[in-house]
């Protein structure tokens, strides 16, 4: 009877692989940040990647949380990563991986701070285990995912587990990861984390100015432990081409980070802009109108193409959330949860595919 009833249950939606695709684009640096790891239904991963390919972006940045994969000590569940990789390869899209989020089995060891930690609380005693995870990831996906970003915005207190932000501490994390990741995958590029654009002064409980943080990271001797720098640079309410200035948060602030690299003898290291964009919420104080969002984004892409030869990729935040936040972050997206595409999608697509002669 049970078998009979099981037979009546409709099959879950399937996502069979397509004929292998490639990205038809005239803008090879164009990249999109995705949020695929939280998708329950595989077809939504596939649909997202199809749309990104059709937009003309050849690379995505995706988050692969340690907590989701190494669910207990030395037990790795690669299922969710594999299905994203499978569909990205099928669409001809490259992946830059971002690592973070501490598993429960690590957090539970900190019995003195029960109820006071977050998924971003990484005790120093767990750096080696995190490094082992990164190495396992790097080895498994060698030749498929060769750029790995270590952590996210460690210059913000909440991203550093509400501990005092510490460039030296983050430098130690890079040091712990670097050699073992390269041993597992000699081709891997370890990217120092994108820093949050912020003007927080030294001693602030919220974080530390991104330019100061990068300078301090070099002072701590961490320059030898990353191959490239991830950069987060948002335009907020300012047009793309506005000149950078230490006291201003704008798109070209990335140039100030680049100057720090040059001053520290790292001018040859590549930069990956792994997050950028404008927000078009009607009331958020850091937002612009939808028309301005389109114009500023296209200006930024043109500007970087012409002036930022050191930038390997320009990754726009964010393609789509699995579920709406029901707040202003939804207005960073290029598609809503039901895959309704926003005007900016078509505008960026027109830019990325200009000059392409479509086959008949």
């Amino acid at each position: 009877m049970l078998l009979l009833l099981q037979g009546l249950v409709p099959a879950p939606p399937r996502a069979p692989l397509d004929v292998p695709q490639h990205v038809n684009t005239t803008r090879p640096k164009l990249c999109m940040h995705t949020r695929l790891i939280d998708e329950v239904e595989e077809w939504k991963i596939q649909r997202s990647l199809q749309l990104i390919r059709e937009m003309g972006a050849s690379t995505i940045v995706e988050f692969f949380p340690w907590a989701y994969i190494e669910t207990s000590d030395n037990f790795y569940d690669w299922h969710n990563v594999d299905r994203i990789v499978r569909h990205a390869q099928n669409q001809g899209i490259q992946i830059i991986a971002r690592m973070g989020l501490v598993p429960a089995w690590v957090r539970q060891r900190d019995t003195e701070n029960v109820g006071l930690t977050t998924l971003n609380t990484l005790p120093r005693s767990a750096y080696t285990e995190f490094a082992e995870f990164v190495s396992a990831f790097a080895g498994r996906y060698q030749g498929v995912i060769d750029q790995i970003v270590i952590w996210n915005e460690p210059n913000l207190a909440f991203e550093w587990g509400f501990s005092e932000v510490s460039p030296a501490g983050y430098g130690d994390l890079l040091r712990a990861v670097y050699r073992s990741a390269h041993a597992a995958n000699p081709d891997v590029e370890i990217l120092a984390a994108g820093l949050a654009p912020t003007l927080e002064p030294e001693g602030s409980p919220h974080g530390l100015n991104d330019v100061s943080y990068l300078e301090a990271l070099y002072d701590a001797g961490a320059g030898d432990f990353f191959d490239a720098l991830a950069v987060h640079t948002y335009g907020f309410t300012i047009p793309a081409e506005a000149a950078p200035s230490p006291g201003v948060l704008n798109f070209r602030r990335a140039e100030l980070l680049r100057e720090v690299m040059v001053r520290n003898g790292d001018g040859d290291k590549p930069i990956y802009v792994t997050e950028t964009g404008w927000n078009d919420h009607p009331r958020w104080i850091h937002a612009v109108t939808p028309a301005q969002r389109v114009a500023y984004t296209l200006d930024a892409l043109r500007f970087t193409e012409k002036n930022w030869r050191w930038a390997e990729r320009i990754c726009l935040w964010v393609f789509r959330y699995p579920q709406p936040t029901l707040s202003y972050p939804d207005h960073f997206t290029f598609a809503d949860t039901v895959f309704q595409l926003h005007p900016i999608y078509y505008e960026v697509q027109a830019y990325a595919r200009s000059g392409i002669v479509e086959a008949r």
Binding site: A157, F162, T289, L326
Partner: protein, 266 residues
């Protein structure tokens, strides 16, 4: 006066009613539970620091925003009223949207009051008070409309690419056809309704209320199509604190103070 027609019809949607009833039931259970259990500590005792630390996001007017003297907005006033009502000193803690739940989890704040919708996915880790505002989508028209089912044959304006757009397309699959008039912003969608180009508009409640503040002589009808219920969020492992917050919010709602507060800012 402008509220007469609009808000008379702006009853919560089905989900909203379920949440409100659930909140009342939860409050009753908590009270009964308290009657047979150990004496409840005072509110001050339930606060780890003896101060009510409220996590706010001061980038989201009119709910919270920075001013020269600190912070202002609906949620700043609400935080003060809640703390006063419960007899606790108040400390406002400015946070970014991304850090709200982490701050709660790391005990940096006791509650979040930051246009935070009740989110069932988080119900294992946080408690939500009775909601203080419904920011869901509203169907607005110059004539009475009961729901999206009444739209066929009419033209609907909405913000292109917004949640309203997605809901509009969803309803097109359920009912007979109606005309679509996508606009660049919620205000532009309401402009088309007010000037007679569209017969109805679908916009979020905050945009609708702010628009009406600028158009005092206009009195459309409105009904909620979706519910986005803003509530005070606390940790589920702090049941006493959650109980007091729920009691405090219930009292403010019962006395009409929340309604007055909303009318002040929206």
């Amino acid at each position: 006066m402008r509220d007469r027609a609009l808000w008379k019809h702006a009853e919560p949607g089905r989900v909203g009613r379920v949440f409100i009833l659930s909140g009342a039931l939860l409050a009753a259970i908590l009270i009964l539970h308290g009657a047979f259990d150990a004496p409840r500590p005072s509110f001050i005792e339930a606060l780890p620091t003896g101060v009510l630390r409220v996590g706010i996001d001061a980038s989201n007017p009119p709910f919270a925003f920075a001013v020269s003297e600190g912070y202002a907005g609906l949620e700043i006033d609400l935080s003060r009223m809640l703390a006063d009502g419960l007899g606790a000193p108040l400390q406002l803690v400015g946070l970014g949207y991304d850090g709200l739940y982490d701050a709660l989890s790391a005990d940096r704040v006791d509650v979040i009051i930051a246009a935070t919708p009740i989110d069932l996915k988080r119900s294992r880790t946080v408690s939500a008070s009775p909601p203080y505002f419904n920011a869901g989508l509203m169907l607005i028209a110059d004539h009475p409309l009961r729901s999206m089912e009444d739209l066929p044959g009419q033209t609907l304006a909405f913000e292109y690419g917004s949640v309203a757009h997605a809901v509009t397309l969803e309803w097109l699959r359920r009912v007979a056809s109606y005309g679509l008039l996508p606009q660049e912003t919620p205000d532009a969608a309401l402009d088309t309704l007010r000037t007679g180009t569209a017969e109805a508009a679908l916009v979020d409640a905050v945009s609708a209320r702010l628009y009406l503040r600028g158009h005092e002589g206009w009195h459309p009808y409105a009904v909620y199509v979706t519910d986005v219920l803003y509530a005070v969020i606390s940790r589920i492992d702090r049941p006493d604190l959650s109980w007091y917050v729920a009691e405090g919010m219930s009292s403010l709602l019962r006395d009409g103070e929340i309604e007055t507060l909303i009318a002040k800012w929206l």
